[in-house]
């Protein structure tokens, strides 16, 4: 059922018939500190489409700061972001980013249907609310409720849904999925996997199993830097140990 929905969904949103566009998100020399505390230091990294990146870091390592920097939510000390697509390499525009925050942000004074309709209308997309509600499994009786009365997980569904329909080139997800029920979690995973070929998806999480299951690359944020953890030929257990030991490696920089 969901695969069919997925197929239709992609048809509507992404014109999958077109050739796949390779995207590159380049981060150059990103630094950010809060008063005397340096959080990100001279980060150089390139993310590409076709992969889901799992961003892992310890509490307070700066994952959200990293996302906020990309999304221009905070002023950075230094750094540039470039997005390369078939038209060339340009400065990253916030229009190209979809950001699913860890605390779901939805306009609570609207009903789910009003929010979705409003969103589809301003983005000039076909208004097919029922179809989208089906996709994230929001039941009929909840569709006309105020979002204020939604549970945390349901708000999260709405936030992810809106961000996916808006079809940004770069999708940042800050610890999502954790408050979704298992069925929707599985659907979302499939959805993200379906999206990865022409999107850059960076997914931050504390749940290592989830990252290893869903992501193609694990990137850790440690000692103020981003660092790829190569899997090479390691089995799951050894790969996991490698990630944990990398996270434990704190340098007093």
């Amino acid at each position: 059922m969901i695969d069919l929905s997925l197929f239709l969904f992609e048809k509507i949103c992404y014109n999958t018939g077109k050739e796949v566009i390779n995207l590159k998100l380049e981060i150059i020399n990103l630094s950010k500190s809060f008063s005397e505390k340096e959080v990100l230091k001279d980060i150089d990294f390139t993310f590409e489409s076709g992969k889901i990146y799992g961003l892992i870091g310890r509490n307070g390592a700066g994952k959200t700061t990293f996302f906020n920097s990309l999304n221009e939510d905070i002023d950075i000390d230094s750094g540039f972001f470039y997005l390369e697509d078939s038209y060339g390499r340009n400065r990253l525009d916030i229009k190209d980013i979809g950001y699913v925050t860890s605390v779901a942000s939805v306009p609570e004074f609207l009903t789910a249907r009003e929010f979705l309709t409003f969103f589809l209308e301003i983005n000039k997309k076909e208004i097919r609310c029922d179809y989208y509600f089906d996709l994230v499994k929001i039941a009929k009786e909840d569709q006309d409720k105020l979002l204020k009365d939604y549970s945390h997980g349901m708000k999260e569904k709405m936030q992810i849904l809106i961000n996916i329909i808006s079809n940004p080139k770069v999708l940042l997800l800050d610890e999502p999925l954790t408050s979704l029920d298992i069925v929707v979690q599985e659907d979302m995973k499939k959805l993200l996997k379906g999206l990865k070929k022409d999107h850059i998806i960076i997914f931050s999480t504390h749940i290592l199993e989830l990252a290893m299951d869903l992501c193609d690359e694990i990137v850790i944020l440690n000692n103020k830097k981003l660092e790829k953890v190569e899997k090479a030929n390691l089995n799951t257990k050894k790969y996991k140990d490698k990630i944990i030991s990398a996270l434990k490696d704190v340098k007093n920089a």
Binding site: E36, N71, K95, I97, E108, L110, E121, S166
Partner: protein, 522 residues
């Protein structure tokens, strides 16, 4: 009980101390001078503790004296020839008002949230200790203030004792009554505005009786005191016997409330982030032919109708009462007649200060953030310059409309006073009316512009930007300065209208140029 009082004072103290250091660090010069280490430095903390305790002490005495001197001032306005009797009369009525509205136990506060919800203190002990603490604080402060005020107005010692005791005992009964009401109807009665205002207004009218040389008799004071003395032990027993303080406090003191920093009235904050039940269903007529952002904005307004209009309505009512009372005074007192007459001819600047307090711009922009932008700014489509500016225009119209309500009352009130003071110049009516409307529009533009240019809140809905606070203080300073300017109404009115046009043009230009960059979550 003593232990829990000590603990709650300690929490209070730690909280105010750390917020003091935190706020100090946000100031430009101190930012670099003070490091995080200050939070753990014991000696420096002692100094800051001394300062902050001194400040709290000073504040308590200051506000109490302010209360007494306001009564004194009011008494001298209402009936100068019987100052002492009028003072006693107003103090008595105000104590009765306090009996209804001064409910400390159900008042929400950060301290309650921290002590009971976070630190899991025994709610009942907390209640008992803070009740006793507040009662004695109250007793001391009022005795002290009576001592000071007795240099200005002669009140017989016996009456002072009676009045202080009345204040003391009525407090206990008042708290009990409030809790009883809450337990019975599951809401704090202060939140029922109709009930609240009808009691408040009828009592306020009673406090003006000395105008007609009617005063509260000492016998009546004695009888009322006696009644309270008799009821108080029962009230106290009731207060001590209520078992579910924990539940009550938890329900009232939620996390959102505790996060508020700038809210002076702690109830209003909670209500700000709420859609009122009666506003959920919007008549389809209002939404007809609306699409996209237009529809979005209309739904926002309709669902928050109550929140957005409530305080404008409150102020309009308040203004209407003041104008009626003033009208009444003008007709009865030759001095006030002359005063009002002179006021309109050269003191128009005062309206700037009055409008500063009455304009709802700050509250409405706050509601916009809490209920809408806080979530929507997370979506990048909402941050596109075209969208931001389109919505800005719609909101400006909305804000101007909301503020026109109290402004219209002011226009009508001023015209009434002008008429009663026998002003026959048609120009005066027109210029002053036009000036008040311009003033209202000026503040609407001002608040929305600084909201868009400085967007001061963070994702936790705390006011984060010092620049916003500085601009607010500056606004107040300028308004205060303007209020002291003495110019005839024609020059003043015209100058102000020109100023508003210029200010609006410049600030709208700034919004168009900079807000796409500045309007985001901090």
């Amino acid at each position: 009980m003593l232990n829990s009082l000590r603990m709650s004072l300690k929490i209070d103290y730690a909280y105010s101390l750390n917020s003091f250091i935190y706020n100090l660090r946000r100031l430009p010069i101190f930012k670099d001078l003070i490091t995080d280490d200050l939070y753990k430095s014991k000696n420096l903390k002692k100094v800051v503790a001394f300062l902050s305790t001194g400040w709290a002490f000073f504040k308590a005495i200051f506000f109490n004296l302010l209360y007494f001197f306001s009564i004194y001032f009011l008494a001298s306005l209402i009936n100068k020839s019987h100052l002492s009797l009028t003072f006693i009369h107003i103090y008595f009525i105000f104590t009765i008002i306090g009996f209804f509205i001064n409910n400390r136990l159900l008042n929400t506060s950060k301290k309650k949230y921290f002590s009971i919800v976070l630190f899991k203190m025994d709610a009942k002990e907390f209640m008992e200790s803070s009740l006793v603490y507040n009662l004695f604080k109250y007793l001391l402060l009022h005795s002290f203030s009576f001592l000071i005020i007795s240099f200005f107005v002669k009140v017989p010692l016996l009456v002072i004792v009676q009045l202080v005791l009345l204040a003391f005992f009525s407090r206990i009964t008042g708290e009990a009554l409030n809790i009883l009401f809450y337990k019975r109807y599951s809401y704090v009665w202060l939140n029922n505005y109709y009930l609240y205002f009808s009691i408040l207004i009828s009592l306020l009218i009673l406090s003006f009786l000395p105008l007609k040389n009617i005063f509260i008799s000492s016998n009546l004071i004695f009888i009322v005191l006696l009644i309270f003395i008799i009821i108080s032990p029962f009230s106290f027993r009731y207060l001590v016997r209520v078992k579910d303080y924990k539940l009550i406090f938890k329900k009232l003191n939620t996390k959102n409330m505790a996060l508020s920093e700038q809210e002076a009235l702690s109830y209003s904050r909670q209500q700000m982030v709420e859609v009122k039940k009666k506003d959920i269903n919007i008549s389809s007529k209002r939404l007809k032919n609306k699409k996209g952002y237009d529809l979005f904005n209309t739904i926002f307004f309709e669902r928050h109708r109550e929140i957005l209009l409530r305080s404008a309505k409150k102020f309009s009512l308040f203004l209407a009462i003041i104008y009626i009372v003033l009208g009444f005074l003008v007709l009865n007192d030759a001095n006030i007649f002359r005063g009002v007459n002179a006021f309109f001819s050269s003191n128009l600047g005062w309206f700037v200060l009055i409008m500063y307090f009455i304009n709802r711009g700050a509250i409405v922009t706050q509601a916009m953030f809490f209920n809408c932008d806080h979530a929507m700014l997370r979506y990048n489509f909402y941050r596109e310059p075209k969208v931001l500016l389109g919505l800005f225009k719609k909101r400006l119209k909305l804000l101007i409309k909301v503020n026109l309500l109290p402004a219209t009352v002011m226009v009508l009130g001023n015209s009434l006073l002008l008429y009663l003071t026998l002003n026959k110049e048609v120009y005066a009516y027109l210029v002053i009316a036009f000036y008040i409307i311009t003033l209202s529009i000026f503040f609407s533009v001002h608040y929305l512009v600084i909201y868009y240019l400085l967007q001061p809140y963070n994702s936790e809905m705390q006011l984060k930007k010092v620049s916003y606070s500085l601009v607010s203080i500056l606004t107040y300073g300028v308004c205060y300065y303007v209020s002291t300017v003495r110019l005839n109404y024609l020059s003043f009115g015209i100058l102000f209208i020109i100023f508003t046009l210029l200010y609006s043009a410049i600030s709208l230009y700034l919004v168009y140029k900079f807000s796409p960059r500045t309007f985001k979550i901090n």
